[in-house]
Symmetry: C3
């Protein structure tokens, strides 16, 4: 439904210092992050959460997803390889998280060209508002009613999805984070732009999906979902900048990224965050 | 049904230059490769496709596999961890690919000792001829009616499977690629032998499965399925040769293989391909 | 039902030399290990089994799990991401393994806070006694009737789970291996403590799950399940000690661990094993 461009204040409250504080809070709290994510990225996601200081748990059954969501610090729902079986677990987890006041994060992988999951994404959004929706520009445009890209690719720039992101944020009372060379995040009023990252990131499968999990981890330690999304985005992207030196390609970069995230401290994060 | 040995011409049209041209074409086209593959290798497969220059998409649900197959450049069906749920998605994807004129590739992992998937493999082959079947010698022998090995292991040499490969290729009008120290590929008439590779390859899980995905990527950019299979085989095996130097074992080799594939250029490929 | 502390003899028969002999036997036999394990760790598990010298096979369907279990050297059942679909395959595999006299290993990931899988674990244990149950202290306490931890985390020390481990071992006639900084293993009479390992191990997802697979591999080559569990534990933990030097964090450590396991020989193992 791509609404007209919405004027917005700059991102009040999202400063390098606030981002670093959330990250320090995560390291102190070791939040349990319940990931209903895709099979391609689950190992990488778990290792990234561990390196960040969170405790990952992947439970995919409808019989159990509710019990875990109720005790988790945050819940991630990633549609990458969803099937009828795991869709049911997602429905259960979202309702349980909402009932227990736990933040949940939607990563609408592939929404747009694939009608079944597009319907599922809308159903989940209607059943309980998420804290954050994190996607690439095509997915955010599609979720707002556009035609969408061709899967996990992003064929649009984040800035082009800002109006759609703002409309979604207002409709569901959530934050929408659009990933790209410059990430654009909004809660429907405030807009934050973050310019960290590295060109090797999209060449490693699951970096965007791991970001969704990091958002859920950060949302477990702050009530400000925009700050949570900004902190997670910065953590990933600054770790990527630190990791890229001396990497021969995406294989060694994926390894160095986990090491870089593990080595990252709140002070280094505050120093390197590029908020615009 | 192991037919008698079939005399065949040398592989006309499969030269180092032609192989390099397909690889350059892949890099230019960035084909979308829809992988219905097993959960063990899906991360590695996606990273290998990205390093090669393709765009991976893994969608496992019967509700969506058709929609994606119709727009993909190529479709991979790998039976490794197939269940009744994903088998249905495979049926849908194969029919959709065939209806849309998209090449599909079968990797018959474990066919032989496991009757259920052996039946599924035959059902899929009968429903629509694949562009390429890629397997190890035991799997190819079993698919042609032999007794098969004990899973992903290959207990037979590729050359021993040539008659079975030729019979299958003629029955289904497809190419059959048999992996081993010397890979043997045939379209039922032409036979190509490729002698690149490295002994560490079978010590990394998913290298054969990633090859199936690379075959689907190459089949998206050439109509000559034998050339596509030869190009993918060479791309993997030359990258492995380039990667192996200085690796302490299969862990570092798996990382270096992704880097090596990312760094590989068509010129280096043409220079290193060992066609026999 | 946490029984009172049970006095036990020191682990007769579990010496560094015996452990090394089992590892040498594994390298010679290349046992097929059928893993019904979770999707997060299946790639890492397969690579660890290959590096150790075993042959991994992951088959998740009820249609096939029995056929593979009957011919496998050992079977691993890991509950990490179990669903109603894979639970059925686990039931079939356990019965088939028992019927064919093959050892099976239970890794009760997440048992305790998640009632559905706790019931499944008990159902499987009742259907056929396993050779070994391998878990963290919280899982072992929960399996014996305690309240359990919060998923894959271990919030109790192995020594605190010894009474529960002993009770379980006696109830099912199996070995129970409790992982931690000092691993505690018992067959209900003998107790073995192993003090190898490295603090980076719990920061890599799947190291405990890979240990379950290595236990199944060792159980394929010795009838003494306590020795099998001790050998697998030592193999993992000594490889970890060898791998940790020079690692910048958990990303590079995970890679070095596979290399270290590949490079590990029985002599080095015998020299480094720290049995208490």
């Amino acid at each position: 439904m791509g609404a007209a461009f919405v004027s917005a204040r700059q991102g009040a409250g999202v400063s390098p210092g606030a981002v670093a504080e959330v990250f320090a809070g995560l390291r102190g709290a070791v939040p349990l992050v319940h990931c209903l994510t895709n099979v391609v990225v689950s190992q990488f996601t778990a290792n990234m959460l561990l390196a960040a200081g969170a405790a990952p748990a992947m439970v995919h059954s409808a019989e159990e997803a509710g019990a875990l969501a109720r005790v988790a610090g945050g819940v991630l729902v990633n549609l990458g390889t969803v099937t009828s079986l795991t869709a049911e677990a997602m429905r259960v987890a979202v309702k349980a998280a909402a009932g227990a006041g736990r933040p949940w994060v939607l990563d609408p992988v592939g929404v747009g060209p694939l009608p079944w999951r597009t319907g599922l994404a809308h159903e989940l959004l209607e059943s309980a508002p998420p804290a954050v929706v994190r996607g690439n520009p095509s997915e955010i445009l599609a979720l707002d009613g556009g035609s969408g890209g061709r899967g996990v690719d992003s064929t649009d720039a984040p800035e082009a999805a800002l109006a759609a992101a703002t409309a979604l944020a207002r409709r569901y009372g959530c934050v929408v984070a659009v990933s790209g060379p410059v990430d654009v995040l909004t809660d429907g009023e405030r807009v934050v732009r973050l310019a960290n990252g590295h060109p090797l990131l999209p060449l490693v499968t699951g970096t965007g999906c791991a970001l969704g999990a990091l958002v859920a981890a950060c949302a477990a330690v702050t009530d400000d979902a925009l700050l949570a999304a900004a902190a997670a985005t910065s953590v990933l992207n600054v770790a990527a900048e630190d990791a890229a030196d001396g990497c021969a390609g995406p294989g060694s970069f994926a390894v160095a990224l986990i090491d870089g995230l593990y080595a990252l401290g709140p002070d280094r994060l505050a120093e390197a965050v590029n908020v615009r």
